[in-house]
């Protein structure tokens, strides 16, 4: 998988032209051509993110608060009562 890096485009005049992401292959040359630009590090990839359990229709779980519903009707009621009140 291709890596990308955030780079702040700080101009020699001091003007900050914002942050862009640059592919790893182009990073070295880009920073060489623009010595005032700052490498802010790799675009973060959260490797520890755990996929939450799937919502099983009929014995659902509220995606907003984790409420465990008895069935779909209960889940629908919970949605209206708790998240639209």
């Amino acid at each position: 998988m291709k890596k990308f890096f955030y780079v702040r485009r700080l101009m020699p005049t001091g003007q900050d032209r914002g942050v862009v992401d640059i592919p790893e292959d182009d990073l070295e040359q880009t920073l060489k051509n623009n010595p005032t630009w700052i490498n802010l590090g790799e675009v973060s990839i959260n490797k520890n993110w755990e996929k939450p359990p799937a919502l099983v229709i009929g014995v659902g779980e509220c995606p907003l608060c984790g409420y465990k519903a008895a069935d779909q009707f209960d889940l629908n009621q919970h949605k209206t009562k708790e998240h639209y009140s």
């Binding site: 291709k2 003007q15 992401d21 993110w49 995606p63 209206t80 639209y84």
Partner: protein, 240 residues
């Protein structure tokens, strides 16, 4: 295949274009979560009437936009999506982009799709394409891949509707997306005010875009059928 919609919706959208965007979720998605940002009760009631999930996230939009969107995408993950459709509350797809088409695109090797965003101008039958306000490609449909990171780009404004992996690897769908948010002059004026507050030195987007918001640009006739033909024949939209 399970497709989930996501949207962040601001105040007073019920009186603007929100319903059109909710209808898109209804016809394309299995379910959707909408985070409201300081929304009024009429807007929340409209979302409720469509049966989608809703929660308020009232952090200041111009400062915490990437965090608000990251939180939302994590919640979307709890609905176990295969793919995600992300929309703003003033956007609708070309009607030719159907659920069947979404599934066909999802079955290719791509992991994200850009749509050609057309900024409608003055009325729904015209658009503009100036140096700043342009037709541009932007991600609206992407595979849910939490292992590639769900954190949105850390830009207070213009951080996109998908996490960076979708932008880095996205390809082009042969469809346009109609954007109503800049159509009326008063909406453009409101944006000028917002950006003057949150991005006075044009750090997050080119100054020419902000300048265009305050100008009266040339409108062009929006020929939807012709544009679809052009996109279908465009090299950018062919499978790679």
């Amino acid at each position: 295949m399970r497709i989930i919609g996501l949207m962040v919706c601001g105040p007073n959208e019920a009186d603007r274009y929100l319903e059109g965007s909710l209808k898109e979720f209804k016809r394309l998605c299995d379910d959707a979560i909408i985070a409201t940002n300081n929304a009024d009760s009429k807007t929340i009631e409209l979302i409720r009437s469509y049966g989608f999930w809703h929660y308020p996230d009232n952090r200041e939009w111009g400062l915490y936009q990437p965090d608000i969107k990251t939180t939302l995408l994590e919640k979307v993950g709890r609905l176990n999506p295969d793919w995600v459709i992300a929309l703003d509350s003033d956007e609708v797809f070309a009607p030719e982009f159907t659920r069947a088409e979404a599934e066909r695109l999802a079955k290719t090797k791509e992991i994200a799709f850009n749509f050609l965003v057309v900024n409608l101008y003055n009325d729904p039958d015209h658009f503009t394409h100036g140096p700043g306000i342009q037709r541009f490609w932007n991600i609206r449909f992407f595979k849910f891949l939490p292992e590639m990171g769900l954190t949105y780009q850390k830009k207070r404004l213009h951080c996109g509707l998908a996490p960076p992996y979708a932008y880095h690897h996205g390809w082009h769908a042969p469809y346009y997306l109609e954007h109503y948010g800049l159509m009326k002059a008063e909406d453009r004026a409101r944006r000028v005010e917002r950006y003057q507050k949150y991005d006075p030195n044009a750090k997050f987007k080119g100054k020419v875009y902000y300048d265009d918001l305050g100008k009266e640009l040339k409108p062009y006739i929006f020929d939807r059928k012709k544009l679809l033909e052009q996109l279908a024949n465009s090299t950018d939209c062919q499978p790679r």
